[in-house]
Amino acid sequence: MAKLNDNNEVKSRSMAQETWRRLIKNKGAVIGLIFLLTLVVVSILSGFIYDYDTDIIALNMGEALQAPSAAHWFGTDSLGRDIFARILYGARYSLMIGVGAVAIGLVIGVTLGAIAGFYGGAVDQIIMRVVDVFYSIPNIMIAVVIVSLLGTSTVNLLIALCFTCATSFTRIARASVMTIRDQEYVEAAYELGLPTWKIILKHIIPNCLSPIIVQVTLLIGTTIIAASSLSFLGIGVPSPAPEWGAMLSEGRQHIRDASYMCVIPGIAIMLTVLALNLLGDGLRDALDPKMKK
């Protein structure tokens, strides 16, 4: 048994290496990865460079609506705050909302999916029918309903956004579990007397990792966009937090007189999500056994 495990490990490590090797050959994925890593570093560093109270949210009406210049690279907003600083500082909000909602959705979705797939029958039916209902309503609608019902706050925003993620993870996890459930090594584990949850955790979940990894990357992007859409509808992250969607939403009032206020956060979101998408597509290709030559 121990021997077998070792082998598995060696095999999976080389699988990961193989995937990595294929991934770094994909120019788009590499660019996306580098961009995202830079973004993470920048958002961490910005916490040391800027002080939230004085640099990010403090008003400076005297310098309101200044176009981009040497002093303010990205200009200032209608309350005189430096947009460059807010964009850098705001990266953490967008990333955290994206990652947070997806993480919550992942835990819920995989759990539900694994349960549905593993037990089948009535449990499966109930879970999947509910998931189907949520799947058939557009994401943004679900989020709008939830946020309007619960009220606007970052926590409620996360709840609203994680719903969508959860439904798609449930489907993926269920499908993977169902294909793996009846395979011999799982049955063997059963016969060895391992408790069900351990089997799910140790044998089944690792096996549906690749579609989930891809989906995580792509969903973070979708979630960031959904969060900004909710800001646009007026129910996103409350001001004055420099969340990109909120900045963009504020900027749309100045689409003519200070279009940079709208353009810059939009580009920030676009590049981030583009990077996530490129990475996601790259991962998909790298993890897809069909692409193996």
Binding site: D53, I57, A58, L59, M61, A64, L65, S78, L79, S148, G151, T152, S153, G234, I235, P238, S239, P240, E250, R252, Q253, H254, I255, R256, D257, A258
Partner: protein, 525 residues
């Protein structure tokens, strides 16, 4: 196969474009028809000489969707503006908000419990039936049962005296009641229409225009009432209200000539409109008061001195700047500008951080240390105002977290008293009682402050019933001064009315609160 697919796709495209073309060709037809009518009208003009040359259709770009034309079952300003075309009230308002005759020629208090109203005798509905006292009684009886009944406080019943005279039976004398009769939800409706069992009988009115079509979410149009009884018929053949929810697109639509009037152009885009030689940007003092307020039931905001400290800490000039680029007037009193008894010269609480700090100390919060939430609607200008206030209050040691909500949620939250601090607005330009009573009297549904003070309740009643104007003015002054000092709210500013339109628009006058009468407006040609 690809060809088949392409063909199928093309078919879809053609269908779509055909539908679209169909739509536009239909509208060209109407234009042609209307063209002939217009020519006819012009021929008529030369004969009578009083219809000026005008663009056939007046299109007004609104900021919100029209949602209901059922007079007594709605209370949105945008609906009211539309309804002012199709319906008439007993009295109208002139440019200076004075009450002037409309369907009624005069109204008098015969005693403290009765108002006698004389109706014009030649008025008729758009379906040609005459408008009589029966219809007036019918309208008000129905109104007393409707959601807008709150605006008829004091009315007990209505009696028909003769065809053109009604008596309104009142609980007591009220200074404001007759002004309420100008409120468009009380536009006179046809009893006969309701009894006929027709669909949407509320669409029958006596105004210059009649309802034409409503394309859900797209536009609502009105055409001239051929049976209009009065001497001031409309000029435009058709008046259309079109919602453009995105402020910038509304401005662009005006510049592109898609609309003739742009309601609420955003302050930061006015420069483009001002530069445009085809467009007039009009500005006048408004009546809408934006305020910052406390839930006076919730600790620590039940502490008057603390509220005053907060009032002193708020930089209203900065608020005005951040909210509407200074297009408004900072205000001290709680009453809307222009209402009877408006008095703004009390000492109040000007921006003075030192004073604020000493008041804080007096209130027992020398070191600040208060954390609270500010509940606001998720629209402009509240977000900006909130951020200024958040920064202001930080100076005196109050940490404010901003919570945003939809308007509807905000209202019900505030009504239930779930908020601590909040931002809201109040627009009243005819009845001061609707400010004092509705906002500050014990138990009023819109007293979001949850403020209760017997003296205020008493003075409110006095102001409503004082028959002596000097006394009433004096009481108004006292009430306002008292309320400002009690400080359930911090009045911030009155926003200006700003409206942009085609430079050829002919419009007799605008209302500072936004409740315009478009019935005589047209675009000259």
């Amino acid at each position: 196969m690809k060809k088949k697919l392409l063909a199928a796709l093309l078919c879809v495209a053609m269908t779509v474009s055909l539908t679209a073309c169909g739509g536009s060709s239909a509208s060209t037809d109407t234009a042609a028809d209307a063209g002939t009518t217009e020519a006819g009208a012009e021929a008529g003009t030369t004969a009578t000489g009083d219809v000026p040359a005008h663009k056939e259709e007046l299109i007004i770009g609104t900021a919100v969707d029209i949602n209901s034309l059922d007079l007594q079952n709605q209370s949105d300003q945008i609906n009211n503006i539309c309804l002012k075309l199709t319906h008439q009230t007993l009295f109208d308002l002139d440019a200076d908000t004075n009450r002037i005759p409309c369907l009624a020629t005069e109204a008098t208090w015969i005693d403290d419990n009765t108002i006698e109203i004389k109706l014009v005798e030649n008025a008729c509905f758009s379906d040609g039936t005459p408008l009589t006292a029966e219809d007036v009684k019918f309208t008000f009886d129905m109104a007393l049962e409707s959601p807008v009944a709150g605006n008829l406080t004091g009315l007990i019943s209505t009696d028909v005296v003769d065809d053109y005279t009604v008596h309104m039976n009142m609980e007591s004398y009220s200074n404001d009641f007759m002004m309420s009769l100008t409120y468009i939800p009380f536009g006179i409706q046809s009893k006969a229409a309701y009894e006929s069992g027709m669909e949407e009988p509320f669409k029958i009115g006596s105004g210059q225009y009649v309802f034409d079509e409503w394309l859900e979410g797209e536009q609502v149009s009105f055409v001239k009432n051929e049976n209009y009884w009065g001497s001031d018929p409309g000029v435009s053949d058709r008046i259309t209200f079109k919602p453009y929810l995105e402020a910038s697109s509304r401005v662009i639509a005006l510049q592109n000539g898609e609309i003739d009037v742009c309601i609420d152009p955003p302050a930061n885009e006015l420069q483009y409109l001002e530069e445009d030689e085809n467009i007039t940007v009009y500005e006048q003092a408004g009546t809408r008061l934006f305020y910052f307020a406390f839930n006076c039931e919730k600790a620590p905001w039940d502490n008057q001195t603390l509220r005053q400290a907060v009032a002193c800490a708020i930089d209203r000039d900065a608020v005005l700047q951040a909210a509407v680029y200074g297009k408004g007037t900072p205000q001290t009193t709680i009453l809307n500008r222009g209402l009877f008894g408006f008095y703004d010269d009390m000492e109040g609480f000007d921006y003075d951080v030192e004073r604020a700090k000493s008041l804080m100390a007096e209130a027992g919060y020398a070191d600040g240390g208060i954390t609270t939430t500010l509940t606001i609607a998720n629209s402009s200008p509240y977000t900006n105002i909130a951020q200024v206030i958040q920064a202001n209050l930080k100076e005196i040691g109050i940490d404010v977290e901003i919570t945003t909500m939809e308007d509807a949620t905000l209202k019900s939250t505030c009504k239930e008293g779930g908020q601590e601090l909040f931002l809201w607005r109040w627009n009243e330009d005819i009845r001061p009682d609707c400010v004092y009573r509705d906002l500050f009297n014990t138990g009023s549904g819109s007293n979001y402050h949850h403020f209760s003070d017997p003296k205020v309740d008493e003075l409110t009643d006095k102001v409503l019933t004082d028959k002596d104007e000097a006394q009433r003015t004096e009481d108004s002054k006292e009430l306002q001064t008292y309320l400002v000092d009690a400080c359930p709210q911090v009045p911030l500013y009155i926003s200006n009315l700003v409206i942009a339109y085609n430079k050829n628009l002919v419009m007799p006058y605008f209302r500072g609160g936004g409740d315009h009468y478009w019935k005589n407006a047209y675009v000259a040609e």
